[in-house]
Amino acid sequence: MSIGLDRVGVTVPGPDGPLTILEETTLDLTERRIALIGPNGSGKSTLARLVNGLVEASTGQVTVDGLDVATQGREVRRRVGFVFTDPAAQLVMPTAVEDVALSLRRAHRNRAERQRAALAVLEAHGLADLADRSVHALSGGQRQLLALAGVLATGPSVLVADEPTTLLDLRNSRRVADLLFGLEQQLVLVTHDLDLASRCERALVVDGGRVVHDGTGADAVAHYRATA
């Protein structure tokens, strides 16, 4: 998969005129695992959200495998899965199995089939025993794994994860990281966990709405540590 940003900028209205969130950026992201690191408010989440159209570019063009995010958003979102920092925001159905089933409504029109497929997805992620549990009764780690399962159930080719381990304890953080790094899909990972970033083939350091460094994971982490 190839994610392309061609002179993409993001501005929002501010009290004293337009506020630049992301300066004009051109990138071609083809590596399997790409990390976005940088301080809070640097623009890395904005950059990640451009990939599936959650944030619209003010200028330039974002493409995923040649599809224009602005004009072919529906097709793009079928290929790009997105995981939020707080899984509570992502889980919209009352129970675990129903939430996964919601992701499968397009693929399985028959409810019994959908139910079976949803249970199989939960089973594959080691969450089968939580199937009928209320999503509100799950721990943070279980919720994040469920959110991931719900997104992966649709079979995306790219997964964008916006700080997926930030709210988790060490054990759950490792579990989520192991799942993410074991995926076949292309992964775009926004993270403050520099160990995770250094495991990526490519990492971008974002600061002040600009990509200030672009290199391998280890190289970008070293740059970030030296300049932070």
Binding site: L54, F84, D86, Q90, L91, V92, E98, R114, H136, G150
Partner: protein, 202 residues
Amino acid sequence: MSDPLLGDYRPGDTVLHRLPAGAKLLALAVGGTVVALRSPTIGLVALAVSLVLVAVSGMGLRRTLRALRRIAVVVVLLGAFAVWQHGWWRAVESVADLVALVLAATVLTATTSVDELLDTLTRLLRPLRRLGVDPETVALAFSLTLRAIPTTLEIARETRQAAIARGLQRDPRALLVPLVIRVVAEARSTGQALQARGIGED
């Protein structure tokens, strides 16, 4: 969110679990219309029927009381107002109607999965497609409304605790402003989550 107003679905094998969601929705709609008739007897009969449904659904006393606890303040205020304005019989009727409907709705959501409700509503709304209505979207909006009730109550609880922690429990602004802002933010993030998952775009 340990105290949902409406029952979270619990799988089971009772008659009510096996009954098609369409029949349960229809019964609730008919019940809601019948209790609108002004008669304390109808209200009490509806309450009795709801209690029987609760017993048949296997919800258990604890969950039933939890569902009712959420509306306790409304029941007391409604009852007091009705006594003051119209006398005891109207108060009995109003309270019985309200409790009966809340219990019936709780039985519906406790014995019917949201997935089944979505399917049923989508099927029922299909004829409206000719008028430009998207049945999937309307059904999804319905299920999200069900989800929003416990979420909003939880936000209200957290907002109240935050106000108490700052010694502002008597300041209505400290309760209402953050509540409204957080509910709107929650709605936005739910919309983003649906958009990110490509749901509702078909």
